[in-house]
């Protein structure tokens, strides 16, 4: 059970949050220009990294804000939390 430091509310129990999976997969601006492979890449393919993953979390039972987390999926250690729209940190 992590403690997640919501950038808007502070440190809260993990059970207040919902994970939104890998971050920085922007929805294509022109989906119709993509072929099926490219669209599938956006829709389904994931790095599923063992190690530091940049991912999205939502404070669903709190402020309901989305934000980004850099977490090591091999030990669940949260390295960095940063807001939506910010660039991933160099770790």
């Amino acid at each position: 059970m992590f403690l997640i430091n919501c950038p808007y509310c502070g440190e809260r129990d993990q059970s207040e949050f919902v994970s939104g999976g890998e971050a920085h997969i922007a929805r294509p601006k022109q989906p119709t220009e993509l072929n099926d492979d490219q669209w599938a890449e956006y829709l389904f393919m994931r790095k599923n990294i063992k190690g530091i993953q940049f991912e999205r979390w939502n404070h669903a039972h709190g402020c309901r804000k989305w934000f980004n987390v850099a977490r090591d999926t091999s030990n669940d250690k949260i390295e960095k939390i940063y807001k939506m729209g910010e660039q991933p940190p160099k770790l």
Partner: protein
């Protein structure tokens, strides 16, 4: 009590409070302060159980949670009985009833004992090698295996007890109230930290509190006396919260820990009424100090499992704490100095100690010298090669060890005893440390695993980190705690500790016997009956990893989870395979530390608190009017309103006829409602719905279909334009929360540039939907000034109107195909407006209808229900709703997916109508549709999604999804049921009023 086993005047036992209890039907007595185990022992009862596999007689072996044998069924009430309770952990209470488990007819004479003689046929893993012939017989074999497995019995009635949860936060959590934990607590408190101190026993102090030898001294006082003063001090310390009878169950990541407190298990049954039985603490600690101590190890030799064989530390505790002698003729068998403390306790209490057998060549420590000086016979460099006594040990046979320690030499010596106290050294309780993800390292000196690396803010101290001698325990605990808390000085810095120091060490994981190993039974895991032979067999058969050995032999998989067995198993594997124990590693310690009651884990969330009930403001009215309810998500929705014993079918027929012929009213409050505002609200709707929203005028409503990004239908509903930049979206009842989350997600992460605000208002409004040919008249009676003419208030439009002080939003929208008005009011007026409608509609026989009738009415019109007619695999095209996909919009959620190679196939499953050849035959929802049922495998074309008998059409109608359904209109198909085949014809999805005339009354 025939024998004089009770030593009087022990401070922890209240001899003024005699308690009676019943063991295996026999009434016995003990005192307040006893555990069930100490009370049994004071009655000279050792034999309390039978082992899992061989049904060997087994006695109380320990005085703590590591007990493998003395596990009993407590209570005989069907609801309150509890299986597998350790006699060593449960405090005695008046009227306690307990029984031995896993034996029949009794623990003294157990038919299962025959397994002991069959044991040559039952080596580790025997069941993998047999019971395979004949193949069909496995279930019969298994029946008997299952019958003989298991230990106690599950309750068979509902638990009447209450359980509770509490969150706790602290600066420092200290696990274990022994001397090191207490010192750490005091140091932390003196540094003004908020301390939470947990102790699983009733009293603080650990094993030092009953220490009674004259060698250990702290600040020149008897160590136990010094400790008592510290405890008094700590009890009055406002910075320290103490929870006793509280056992740490699990240590999770991020210093999240679970602890269970026993609140009533020590009380007599009558005193428990209306009290909470156990409480689960969910603890978040900034720092954690583990001071859980160590567990004594047994030694592994032939027949080391007889009743009367106990851990030396347990024998000592029963004397010094409980005032109970475990036997009158004692022998001690050890490989270390700690058992000599037991010797002193036996001596001091006037209990006969026949001899000490020590595998070491000698020891010259202070404590050993003291024992020597008492004239007690010590057999150095000897080992036990056998024991005798079926239901109670009566003899041990000892022999001298050879130089290497791998064989025995010389003559056998027999020693009489009715209690054998064994000690194989100590194992730090590193379970919690490893549960938390910590890594261990092996200490070759003491043959123990000790804490090494951790990612968490935690510290292990005392014997939990491998310090066993009092001066090490105290001085290192002080030093390490100070460092951990970054403190320069403490009040303990000048502490003066005196104790005996062990100089000679020797450890043999598997002691030799005069017989070959194959003829002996050296037990490792007492409960699961695994022996050193089983370990060696597993290794011979190629099970190399320690986890394989554990699983193949079941070593460490009993209710004690290997607390006694694991180290010896590892040692024997290491010795046999010539591996370094440090390289071998340990098996995983899994939570909980001791078994945790399901009820405690669940807490109050049982029965009516299992999940919330969401009720509409009109709920009470529905109850008063005999509604039956349907669960839709967490909502209770009125399903139908049977009158005078009507069946559901009859009620639905009546309700739907009324709605079609005069008027009906539905509570639509459960539909999800999202208030959308902002200058880009219109653009937002364009992006989330498949259809176009740009031209929608203020005061108008529009139906929208929402897709998932994979192109499949996700939700639907009507959205109303309330103002220039203000919309009210409705969603399905079940989908409301998910739609809200999804929209928020897109808005915050993909389209942050849009000026849009979303607010869930589902609970803020109540909705009464009045429909039918007389709906207009009813609405007119309520809102006299409202112009209901089609010109002023056409279908798919909205008006804001006041009823007294109540603001009403009236929408003319229809899910039934009838002229229909939905009145939305603030939730608190919901029941009022509902009753107002009922009153106004009385003269038109306004009929409340539930979800079932609603489903029927909409099916007659071919309107889909997302989730019933769709299943996450249907596109709008599949639903024959191509009209709702805007061709002009560049993009919307899910659009791109509609053009994938499979998604654009023409032969996908498509929504159709179905009519049965026999109009009275109602199809079963979920039934499959085929063309030919005889050709195997049967080619299934689709299934029935919705099916009803329509009283208006006087025939059965159904919606279905059907492969290439669009092309199959008019075709005859079959619906095969178990007992018959139903003939159907594919039809249009709209069964009633294709011209949409009813919508205008």
């Amino acid at each position: 009590m025939s024998k004089n086993l009770r030593i009087n005047n022990k401070q922890f036992i209240d001899e003024t409070r005699k308690l009676s209890f019943i063991f295996n039907g026999k009434k016995l007595y003990g005192y307040k302060g006893d555990t069930l185990a100490s009370a049994l022992l004071s009655n000279d009862i050792h034999l309390v159980g039978r082992s899992f596999k061989y049904h060997r007689p087994r006695g109380i072996m320990t005085s703590g949670s590591e007990e493998p044998n003395a596990i009993l069924q407590i209570g005989n009430d069907d609801a309150l009985t509890e299986p597998n309770v350790r006699a060593t952990e449960i405090e005695l209470y008046d009227g306690l009833i307990c029984n031995s488990q896993n034996c029949w007819p009794s623990v003294k004479f157990d038919i299962g004992g025959i397994n002991n003689f069959l044991s040559p046929l039952l080596p580790a893993g025997f069941y993998y090698k047999t019971f395979m012939w004949p193949a069909s017989f496995w279930e019969k074999y298994e029946y008997f295996i299952r019958k003989s497995a298991g230990l106690g019995k599950s309750p068979t009635k509902q638990d009447p007890d209450m359980y509770d949860h509490r969150y706790m936060h602290c600066d420092i959590l200290i696990i274990g109230g022994g001397v090191s934990g207490l010192i750490a607590a005091k140091i932390a408190s003196d540094d003004n930290k908020k301390v939470l101190l947990l102790e699983d026993k009733e009293l603080l102090g650990g094993s030092l509190i009953y220490d009674d030898n004259d060698i250990s001294k702290i600040d020149n006082q008897k160590s136990s006396e010094w400790l008592k003063k510290l405890i008094e001090n700590i009890k009055n310390d406002k910075n320290i919260i103490i929870k006793t009878r509280t056992s740490l169950a699990a240590y999770h990541n991020y210093n999240f820990l679970l602890a269970r407190q026993n609140l009533t298990d020590h009380l007599s049954v009558n005193d428990r009424n209306n009290k909470i039985r156990q409480r689960l603490y969910k603890i978040r600690a900034k720092k954690v100090i583990i001071s859980t101590g160590a567990i004594e190890r047994p030694q592994v030799f032939h027949n080391n499992d007889r009743p009367g064989i106990m851990l030396a530390s347990a024998v000592k505790k029963y004397i010094d704490y409980y005032g109970v002698r475990c036997g009158l003729e004692n022998v001690i068998f050890t490989n270390n100095d700690s058992a000599y403390e037991t010797a002193l306790s036996l001596h001091k209490s006037g209990t006969k100690l026949n001899a000490i057998v020590d595998i070491r060549n000698n020891s010259s420590s202070e404590i050993v010298n003291k024992v020597k000086s008492l004239g007690i016979q010590i057999y150095w460099n000897h080992t036990i090669v056998n024991t005798k006594g079926y239901k109670r040990i009566n003899k041990v046979t000892i022999m001298k060890l050879n130089d290497k320690g791998n064989d025995v030499v010389g003559k056998k010596i027999e020693l009489n005893c009715d209690c054998l106290a064994i000690s194989g050294g100590w194992t730090p309780m590193v379970h919690l440390f490893t549960q938390s993800g910590g890594k261990l390292k092996f200490d070759n000196k003491d043959n123990i695993f000790v804490p090494d690396k951790t990612n968490l803010n935690q510290l292990s101290i005392g014997s939990a980190k491998g310090d066993f001698e009092l001066d090490d325990v105290l001085k290192n605990s002080i030093k390490d705690t100070k460092k951990f808390l970054q403190i320069e000085n403490s009040n303990f810095d000048k502490i003066d500790v005196k104790c005996s120091k062990e100089k000679e060490k020797k450890n043999i994981w598997l002691l030799p016997s005069d017989k070959p190993l194959s003829k002996t039974k050296p037990f490792l895991d007492y409960q699961n009956d695994s022996t050193a032979k089983d370990i060696k067999l597993a290794l011979r058969e190629g099970f190399k990893s320690i986890e394989h050995v554990k699983r193949y032999t079941t070593t460490g998989m009993g209710t004690d989870q290997g607390k006694l067995a694991n180290m010896h198993a590892l040692g024997i594997v290491a010795d046999t395979t010539n591996t370094n124990m440090g390289d071998l590693g340990t098996t995983t310690f899994r939570p909980p530390y001791t078994p945790l009651t399901f009820g405690t884990i669940v807490g109050r969330n049982v029965g009516q608190f299992f999940d919330i009930f969401r009720k509409t403001p009109m709920h009470d009215w529905h109850v008063d009017n005999n509604a039956k309810f349907e669960n839709v998500g967490q909502w209770k929705r009125a399903w139908y309103y049977p009158k005078d014993g009507e069946s559901m079918h009859d009620a639905v027929q009546r309700e739907s006829k009324a709605a079609r012929e005069s008027s009906g009213i539905l509570d639509a409050s459960t539909l999800g409602k999202i208030d959308i505002q902002g200058t880009d609200a219109n653009e937002f709707l364009n992006r989330v719905y498949t259809n176009a929203w740009s031209k929608l005028q203020i005061g108008k409503c529009r139906y929208g279909l929402m897709l998932n990004e994979d192109g499949m239908v996700y939700d639907d509903g009507v959205t109303t334009k309330l103002g220039e930049n203000h919309y009210l979206m409705t969603t399905t009842t079940g989908g409301a929360a998910n739609v809200m989350s999804k929209l928020e997600d897109y808005l915050q992460t993909e389209w942050p540039e849009l000026d849009v605000f979303l607010t869930s208002v589902t609970d803020h409004y109540a909705t009464a939907s009045v429909c039918g040919p007389n709906a207009k008249k009813i609405i007119n009676k309520i809102f006299k000034d409202l112009d209901l003419s089609d010109e002023s208030f056409p279908h798919m439009s909205f008006k804001e109107v006041k009823l007294g002080n109540i603001n009403c939003r009236v929408m003319r929208i229809s899910f039934t195909g009838e002229l229909s008005y939905e009145i939305n009011v603030e939730a608190s007026y919901g029941k009022y407006i509902w009753e107002k409608c009922i009153e106004a509609g009385k003269e038109f026989n306004i009929t409340p209808y539930g979800t079932e009738t609603m489903h029927l009415l909409r099916a007659e019109k071919g309107f889909i229900i997302v989730g019933q007619d769709t299943d996450g695999t249907m596109t709008p095209v599949d639903l024959q709703m191509d009209w709702i996909i805007s061709k002009k919009k560049y993009d919307f959620i899910g659009k791109r997916s509609l053009y994938r190679s499979d998604t654009i196939r023409e032969d996908r499953k498509q929504l159709v109508g179905l009519l049965t050849d026999d109009p009275n035959e109602i199809l079963e929802e979920g039934a499959q549709i085929v063309k030919d049922e005889n050709k195997k495998p049967v080619n299934m074309l689709g299934h029935v999604t919705s099916s009803y008998f329509s009283p208006t059409l006087k025939k059965s109608i159904a919606l279905a999804v059907l492969k290439e359904g669009k092309k199959l209109k008019g075709q005859k198909l079959l619906v095969p049921m178990i007992d018959k085949t139903i003939k159907v014809t594919v039809s249009d999805t709209v069964f009633l009023d294709k011209e949409n005339e009813r919508i205008n009354g």
